[in-house]
Amino acid sequence: MSGSNRLAGLKARPKDTTVEEVRRVDEVGEARGFLDRTPRKKPGRKPSPRTYQLHPKIFPEVGEAIAAEAERLGVTQGQLVEKMWDLYKSSHID
């Protein structure tokens, strides 16, 4: 191939890319086994990037009550959860 830019004359064919067209392409692909293979994200809440703690899911009213009590005691919610854990351990585990 020569070094001159022979490729400059090449043209792309017009391709409409409507949502409808993409949907049709997906349907045709799926029928032949070309499926959505995008890796699924791991379910669940991620550990805190700062403390690596797991954040349990609780009902909003419980969360609000814990936050209010921590504020009343002048401690962080984490410190309050630690106190609760100590109480739980002493009554159930020890």
Binding site: M1, L7, L10, A12, T17, V22, V25, E27, G29, F34
Partner: protein, 222 residues
């Protein structure tokens, strides 16, 4: 400018090698080439990490949701877009095919490659029907013998042509220089001119093969 898509649901057939050779040759012809690495193995990103030829730009980490807008944004005056796809049957593949001006299906001359590769050819034809427009496509045989054309290769070529499938000549011969491009980066010309690069193969013959392949692809884009 045209969008060329390398497609085959089978891995290891030479999609990335075809993409690298075409990108290098078209860049050498002064075209501005954008290469989209959509393969989770990141073969082209590894190649690029050692140095890209002048005129080639790489975009990587492109998923199913991004493929259509990325091709559209990369496409433009004086630009050729080459898409290297993952070796699986996915919606990413079917969406990329819908944006192609030429789909190249690389295939080693084996029954297994032919069987799995034919899925890509069938998908192209079904997309043509669904979209009501033609999508040019062709097979290139890869990793063929430099010495003789095997009986299997002859039979496969006959079968493909008999089925009305365009087969690109020349095939891509199994050359050490092709695989070593991924270790050194750049292109075959740079490899040939650099005595530090030990390829253990005939770079000059690899370059002739790559140029003839790029010329055959160019003819299909006119």
């Amino acid at each position: 400018m045209p969008v060329i898509v390398m497609a085959s649901p089978k891995g290891g057939v030479g999609k990335s090698t075809c993409a690298v050779l075409l990108a290098s040759e078209f860049a050498r012809m002064k075209a501005e080439v954008t290469v989209l690495d959509c393969d989770p193995n990141k073969s082209l990103t590894r190649w690029a990490s050692h140095g890209l030829p002048v005129g080639v730009t790489l975009m990587s980490e492109i998923g199913r949701s991004e493929i259509v807008p990325t091709i559209r944004s990369a496409d433009g005056d004086g630009k050729i877009v080459i898409v290297d796809l993952e070796g699986v049957a996915s919606q990413l593949v079917s969406r990329a095919i819908s944006q192609a001006d030429l789909v190249i299906v690389p295939m080693q001359p084996t029954a297994l490659d032919a069987e799995i590769g034919s899925e890509a050819l069938a998908l192209v034809r079904e997309e043509e029907e669904a979209l009501g427009r033609s999508i040019r496509h062709a097979v290139v045989l890869t990793k063929t013998s430099a010495a003789v054309k095997s009986r299997v290769q002859k039979e496969l070529e006959e079968q493909l042509r008999g089925a009305g499938i365009d087969v690109i000549e020349p095939s891509l011969v199994a050359r050490a220089a092709f695989s070593e491009l991924f270790a050194y980066g750049g292109d075959l010309t740079a490899m040939m001119n650099d005595p530090e690069m030990m390829t253990g193969g005939k770079v000059d013959k690899a370059l002739i093969n790559a140029q003839a392949f790029a010329e055959a692809v160019y003819e299909r884009l006119k």
